[in-house]
Amino acid sequence: MIRKPSRQLAIDGDLVLKDATKEISRHLDQPTRRAFLQRSLSLGGLSLLSGCSVVDESSVENALMTVSRFNDKVQAWLFDPNRLAPTYPDSMITRPFPFNAYYGEDEIREVDETSYRLEVTGMVADKHAWTLAELRAMPQSDQITRHICVEGWSAIGKWGGVPFADFLRRVGADLSAKYVGFKCADDYYTSIDMPTALHPQTLLTLTYDSQPLPPRYGFPMKLRMPTKLGYKNPKHIQAIFVTNTYPGGYWEDQGYNWFGGS
């Protein structure tokens, strides 16, 4: 929680510095937004509890991370591949559906449709890059489901696109692989477990509310999973890869639970 930013600094100092500056200015603008900076106070509460600050913070963090990985296993065990998230009528759609990302609305990425290609790599038979037209030509389905954010709020939205299980079978993915990873045009990245990737409501989303997915909701494509929290649903997807090597994720590497299921 505390040391993650400095570790990133070692990887790419300039980028992180730029991010941090942005983060600080946004934080000053909107003090209620979640803030990276507050991480330095991470164990303030614990110091209160113990009445002193001699607690070894890194060992506490390691212990919490170990429990989080244990919770991943419990969630994988609880996950029923056939259990569907509730669906709702059109009238219950939250309007406007909230925008949410690790950056502000002024930094929404614009992806060019004509030059866009979806890369598919890793444990798949067909590694050709997909155009949007090819994806739109596949059988589509839609859903009105509840998006639950890790922050607690929820909103109901309507997404349409290609069932992800169909897509994975079409590209000849090794369905016994452990992970499917995503890299996005907004530098976000995340990964999910194969059983969730194959869940009938996991959708490679191309539309929102029957219109092409607008940039604010992740044009050209977002992976929608009503069985997982919002941060597990990547937007602006550019590359999909199937792997047995744990790929982590943008928030997950900073301490959010990896499975993130609901």
Binding site: G45, L64, E151, P226
Partner: protein, 198 residues
Amino acid sequence: MANDTDLIHPRWVRLTHWINALAVVVLATSGWRIYDASPFFAFEIPREITLGGWLGGAIQWHFAAMWLLVGNGLIYLARNVISGRLWHKFFPLSPRAFFADLLAALKGSLSHADLSHYNMVQRAAYLFVMVDSVLLVLSGLVLWKSVQFPILRELLGGYEAARREHFLAMAALVAFAAIHLLMVALVPRTLLAMIRGR
């Protein structure tokens, strides 16, 4: 070494009590930080009294301490039921006697000579906390796994209702804890009894 029956609180009651106290403090303070990420009432909890530093940290604390609360709570309830302690310590429960004891407590004339005997106010309060804790766990399960526990989710009125129920059940538990601590301050022998057993 005194026999278990000579004790006001047997060892397992004291152990589960203090483990529960620790779990509740961690869960409440980290839960406040989680609430602050997206408050649904017109107030936020002051950051200084929350645990975890940021949302991700608070969630880690919350989802670690939940195992402590649930595991410890199950041991406590199971042992309470199997040993019969639940029935002879907390029952019978009579509304008339409850109000009589409550009045006596407010007038400061309630007897605390025998700490192993719970008066009606104590019985009601401790039973309430047991039920409230079960509600906290169940509503928490709906928040954590709203898709995987559909019956529970519908029973509690859906995900958004469960958020409020979880918060209100927390508020009730915190209110209990405040009164509980006040009572301990008024009759400090009870603290010794919960530490030493007598």
